[in-house]
């Protein structure tokens, strides 16, 4: 079996374990919501990016159905964002929050570049490494803003609880 499939399997296993390990029981709703919001955005942004040749995924899970990478878009990056969102410190200084954000984005970009360089899971077209950094950064920013909006109003959230 090709190394690519091992990496895909590893992403699923690692993703599952880290979701269970790093997201406390109490925060599970938050984690799920962050995951789902990030997923919605990454699909929306990846469709045009793949279409216009910014990047491509030569080895993928459903080669007939889509040219996009399922594991990364559907599961692995959303889980990473979910951990990022749940674990972040809300009350830190702006500098601390920026550092946290910076480290997360950079590590993910490094991982992405590593996958691009050493495997066939991803192939950059017009995209450069700093383009990827900005791309992931934007996705994280937008998703975080949306999650913050969702959890902004505690009272509101409670009221909706009773309505279900």
């Amino acid at each position: 079996m090709k190394i690519e499939y091992f990496i895909l399997a590893a992403m699923w296993i690692f993703g599952f374990i880290s979701f269970i390990l790093f997201i406390p029981r109490k925060e599970r709703r938050k984690g799920f919501l962050a995951l789902m919001i990030f997923q919605a955005f990454i699909w929306l942004c990846d469709m045009p990016s793949f279409k216009y040749g910014l990047l491509s995924a030569p080895v993928r899970e459903f080669p007939k159905a889509t040219d996009l990478s399922i594991t990364i878009n559907y599961f692995f990056y959303p889980v990473m964002f979910s951990i990022f969102y749940v674990k972040r410190r809300v009350r830190g200084s702006a500098w601390a929050r920026f550092k946290y954000f910076f480290v997360w984005i950079s590590v993910l970009t490094l991982f992405d570049i590593g996958i691009e360089r050493y495997t066939d899971l991803l192939e950059y077209g017009y995209l450069t490494w700093y383009g990827m950094w900005i791309y992931i950064g934007l996705l994280f920013c937008v998703s975080q803003v949306c999650c913050n909006w969702f959890f902004k109003d505690k009272a509101f959230f409670q009221a909706e609880r009773r309505e279900t």
Partner: protein, 155 residues
């Protein structure tokens, strides 16, 4: 422009119109229903196309994606959002059942008409009742998730 593109356009318009029917105090519920539905439709949509059970000859992002982006990313999740928002949660069981059946049947009927008359979707190894069952099941799963999500935390 072909009839299919007009249809896609009107599906976008209609879905966006439906968004305005969501009451302001239930926006979060609608959001969760919408997002969770996407998780289901994306995966199942890809699997059925990969197994060549059905195909979408006319579609958006045609060169890179063989599933229906419009339906799976937008139209169906929006329908599910309105389904969850309007759900008669404090009514009797057969009203709830009727609610499920009505929503599912309207969607299935629409799909069958579109399948018969246009190139937006073609059944290969697929029947209308499989659509009916999967749509109904996905509504149920989304509702179950929403009830869990908005339930009082157990601690």
């Amino acid at each position: 422009m072909r009839i299919e593109w007009w249809l896609l356009l009107s599906v976008y318009a209609l879905s966006t119109g439906i968004l305005f029917l969501i009451p302001k105090n239930k926006i979060r519920l609608a959001t969760v229903a919408f997002l969770f539905k996407q998780i289901i439709t994306f995966l199942i949509g890809l699997v059925v196309v990969e197994l060549e059970l059905l195909e979408y000859p006319v579609r958006l992002f045609a060169s890179i994606n063989r599933t229906s982006f419009t339906y799976e990313y937008y139209a169906f999740p929006v329908t599910c959002a309105i389904f969850t928002v309007w759900y008669p949660h404090n009514r009797r069981i057969f009203i709830k059942l009727g609610y499920y059946i009505t929503f599912t049947s309207i969607l299935t009927l629409g799909e069958v008409i579109i399948e018969k008359n246009t190139d937006l979707i073609k059944y290969i190894h697929w029947e209308w009742y499989i659509s009916w069952i999967t749509i109904c099941l996905s509504f149920y799963l989304t509702r179950t998730f929403c009830t869990w999500f908005f339930a009082k935390p157990e601690d």
